[in-house]
Point group: C2
Chain length 369, copies 2
């Protein structure tokens, strides 16, 4: 069942052939981890795996990583370089060895200094952005991938339950955030998917708000928590919005609108649905409400080793989504200066329909505090 390294590298060779380029290059990040079944850091050091359409792969490896690289079971050519010597010679040796004229790279992962080093070593090398095809290999999740995501989500939901039990009026957003972070690790998180968003009152209207140390949460506030645990290399991403002590009529109507949009997204999700169709259904509910001017985002994004990955759930993306796709269904309404509501689930497309991997309750919740 499990793919071998050779099988996985063949996937990228096939992409090179499909894109009519001579090879695919990967740098440390989610595709690199998937290809090698081993994660590496990069920082200031270039680190490159090149898989030609035809012929054996090759790699450019920082010397200090050779001890870890030995664990990968790679049998292609390896060009290592030491900090003191710099990497120009290794790039020159790699490109001479490969003798290619075109290369597809991960545009959302590779940084410009690696692009420049490749061009310096081989000025006529044609570099194209193969992000969509390369990262597209991660779109259909294996059963092992789904199990890892579910573990990350279960940890996240337990941490959220604990956090909501401890919220009290007068707390700062940062103190609530700290409770949440500690709960995530106490529940078994390996890392955070991203710096959590814990935002109350007017701050909840900023989709990527930062928690404030100098704002005390008040009765009537919306409290939005958007966060996730990382487990076995996969990232959960869940949002719930609750209200403190009471919710105004407007808040209840807005919440109901967002919840209906979210439920509509679940209802239309089945194998073969397009990303466009999901966003159209979800955003359509928001647009039909009195709060259409508070729409600020698309419906969601794919979820896996990266918090944001293909498919992007938005109008205009007519990609049909197969079983095994996991995406975030996260409609929101944001009234700048007033408050925002977002409800985010992680949805798996199954052979027969869909299932929500997030199961945390979504009915309007007013914390007694």
């Amino acid at each position: 069942m499990t793919q071998t390294l050779q099988d996985r590298l063949s996937d990228y060779a096939a992409i090179a052939a499909d894109l009519c380029v001579d090879a695919v290059a990967l740098v440390p990040g989610p595709n690199f981890t998937r290809a090698l079944n081993h994660s590496f850091m990069s920082h200031e050091r270039p680190f490159l795996l090149v898989i030609p359409a035809n012929g054996p792969p090759a790699a450019l490896v920082p010397n200090l990583e050779l001890g870890s690289w030995d664990q990968v079971g790679f049998d292609g050519a390896v060009f290592d370089w030491r900090d003191q010597d710099g990497y120009d010679t290794a790039f020159a040796a790699l490109t001479a060895h490969l003798a290619i004229s075109s290369l597809a790279v991960e545009g959302q992962v590779m940084r410009v200094f690696v692009h420049h080093a490749l061009k310096a070593a081989q000025p006529d090398l044609r570099i194209v952005d193969g992000e969509r095809e390369i990262s597209g290999l991660r779109m259909i999740k294996t059963p092992e991938d789904v199990a890892a995501l579910q573990a990350a989500i279960d940890i996240s939901e337990r941490a959220l339950a604990h956090t909501l039990e401890t919220v009290r009026l007068g707390q700062s957003e940062t103190s609530i955030e700290q409770v949440l972070i500690r709960a995530l690790f106490a529940e078994g998180a390996e890392d955070l998917s991203f710096a959590p968003i814990v935002a109350a009152g007017d701050n909840s209207a900023r989709p990527h708000a930062h928690a404030r140390a100098d704002y005390a949460v008040q009765a009537g506030d919306a409290l939005l928590l958007d966060f996730g645990a990382r487990k076995h290399g996969f990232a959960a991403d869940i949002t719930r919005t609750v209200f403190l002590q009471h919710a105004t009529d407007e808040a209840q109507e807005v919440y109901d609108t967002v919840l209906r949009a979210n439920l509509r997204g679940h209802a239309v999700t089945r194998p073969g649905v397009t990303a466009h169709d999901i966003d159209d259904a979800v955003t359509g509910v928001l647009e039909a409400s009195p709060y259409a001017d508070r729409i600020r985002t698309k419906t969601g994004h794919g979820l896996g080793r990266n918090v944001h990955e293909a498919p992007y759930i938005m109008r205009g993306n007519h990609m049909a989504l197969p079983a095994g796709t996991v995406y975030t269904n996260e409609p929101g309404l944001y009234d700048i200066g007033n408050f925002g509501v977002r409800i985010e689930d992680d949805v798996l497309i199954t052979e027969t329909g869909s299932t929500s991997l997030t199961r945390f309750p979504k009915e309007l919740t007013v914390l007694p505090c």
Copy 2:
């Protein structure tokens, strides 16, 4: 005392002038955060701040970030774009507005898809790598920066002390790692500087090892912990290597060699010393030992908002280091298949010499377990 947004943007305008380019572009990351005094996420969305050598700045902002962008106090032109529309039009409008012909970017931060979007909008735009100059502005730490680093380091050292008290023979590396991570957040970490390295026995010989769930730590093992807390946006980075129950004569000699190298680094550090001179002194101690073939890394790197940043402490880097520089002094000896030792301090260059911000004891420690 504190710089205004205008002051900080002027720093980048001056760099553009120095580099003989028309403007500097920043993308979300440590320089962006320094410039705006506000951190933003990017993910799949391009987000760009352009500071011309002459004239007002401009920005390309994802629409959903406008609510957060309002907090920045930016008064230049803003070109926003929505997910559903894509960003090509915004790039075209931005480049038409700027009317520049050359641009310096952060090669270690900007990803290739942004580079491609700029070139698509303006094919004749000359893009140069200004990483060294742009990130160089972060090299000299302000008193506020140093206070944040010290807070991150203090948290890290308390977490380490707690973790070492709990280590027992037979534990897995991953279980020790979990204790460490929970302790970091319990002590007040906002985030991890990076996924910690907790490696025993032969795994300690891999400079960037991953903790293993299936290895039980044994008497005689070296146990290497390399990790850090992030606080107020700044990242600690500390390594200690201890031994479990006993240390062989070889282990003691290797440890003593690494410690002497580390102490030599402290001894030569004063304002005006070059990165080359520090590495030469530290690595010289290792080279003069019987273990010279176990050297695998340079002495260290700058530390601040990024875990790895300028200055890189290695031979050949003849940059003189001024007061306010913080770098990691982290010599190590790695015998692949056997064991490794690394001792890492975070060193601040002061007006009169240097001080170690890390103060965790460094004498050879054998845990009783």
